[in-house]
Amino acid sequence: MDTGDTAWIMMSTALVLLMTPGLAFFYGGLVRGKNAAATIMQAFVMLGVAGVAWVLWGYSLAFGPDLGGFIGNLEWFGLRNVGMEPGPYSDTIPHLTFMAFQMMFAVITPALILGAFAERAKFSTYLVFTVVWMTVVYAPLAHWVWGGGWIGTELGALDFAGGTVVHINAGAAALAGAIFYGKRRGVARETVPHNVTMVVLGTALLWFGWFGFNAGSALAANGGAANAFVTTNTAAAMGALTWMALSWRYTGKASIVGTATGAVAGLVAITPAAGFVGEWPATDGYLNAFPALIIGAAAGLAGFYAVRLRHKYALDDTLDVVAVHGICGIVGAMLTGVFAVSTIAGVEGLIEGSFDLLWRQLFAVLASIAWALTLTSAILWVLNKKMGLRVDENAELAGLDRSEHEEPAYQFDEPGLGSYSGGVSTVVSGPAPEVGQAPSIHADDEGISS
């Protein structure tokens, strides 16, 4: 045990926790005002849902004793024997700390997906979806890559902090999500973000938390963590500038939301690479900053044109999860195969002359996509039959804040004034309606259907 390492990983865990609210605000700022609180809720609630599911069965499935390279068994159910002493994944930090660090990844990954079907998802189905998805899709993939499963041990593909497990996984699931949920009603192509300041707040928290995500994945406070820290920041900075420049090129204006999105794209792409790239060429350490700069720039380019391409097609991936997490995740995973160097990664990437790693990366990418796309589609198909994925038209037009939660995000004015306000005149506290038989959002109205 090492107190410095433990301090750093506990702190990293807290940082990654903060990324989920960060994502909530990033997404929440991008949607229209009538869906702001509901979108934030969908991300925020994952802290509860995945926080409980992970300590019960998720961690054991993903990281518990291996069953055939495919999944962990349930010996660690409910944190059985996961204790204060170091566990199998690190000698210098408590097993519980490793478990908590990994938990935060399981919290944010399902939340990433919601951007694909934002502004129309039924909350109850969404909750069921996330629990099933974390169990059936996420836990096995995490096991394959990090938990002693076949991708990490047999294939030998590299994924430092979650390029496949988190971003490609979520991106592929988002593709299935956008398809199965279908288009929003009455939205031509895109809507205007309701709160740009909130988008920047979310991005700032994501960037801040991502240091825990990536540099924490070193599982120690050492030179490797320091390297991952710097590559992370550099790729984010370069992604932001690249996207900003591209938006400028096309509209004559530097897009604020675009700059923020570019930073996220850079962060996504550097995730699998962060602790494996750096020295370039390895021999005399020249230009250590360049691999991360290139990865960031590639992410900005790929993400930007992926968004444009998506606009061309009918896909209503509301918040561009496929572009930003899927495509940029793939870019990052492949460039890990290019820029990994043996002095840091212990294996030679393309810049050291070996194509080997690149093929393994490609295989891991394709396996992740196939896995996530197939299973997510199956889950959504069943849920659509059984529960329905979307709210009805009235609810969608009124906005999810009012229809799904009866809690508009903002009520700035005096009672009786402004948009969604009004004097609270009557408090009806009973009789409680049956669960499932939700009341209409209007007191005496059968709905607002056209």
Binding site: G422, V427, A443
Partner: protein, 113 residues
Amino acid sequence: MKKIEAIIRPERLEQVKVALTDAGYSGLHVESVTGRGRQRGVIHSGRGGEHYTIDMLPKVKLVLVVKDDNLEAATNLIIETARTGNIGDGMLFVSAVEDAIRVRTGERGDSLL
């Protein structure tokens, strides 16, 4: 000249706007209001598991000044497009306007509408 003030559901504004455009009414403006009529209010849920009824509902007031001759047509168009058939569809008020002036040019009268 007549002024039509139509208090309608926010969700129907887009359709009404499109219908008016198609019918050749390009000039209009809208205000955000809250109102009450037959509709009892909107429900708000509190963290204590209670319902609150907010007695004022968000509505849009669409204001359209038209030539006398177009009043009937414009009125009908708005009513038909804004209607959902449920309580809360709104009200429409008509009043007289004596003059209209374009700020940019100072032109006056019916021809501006």
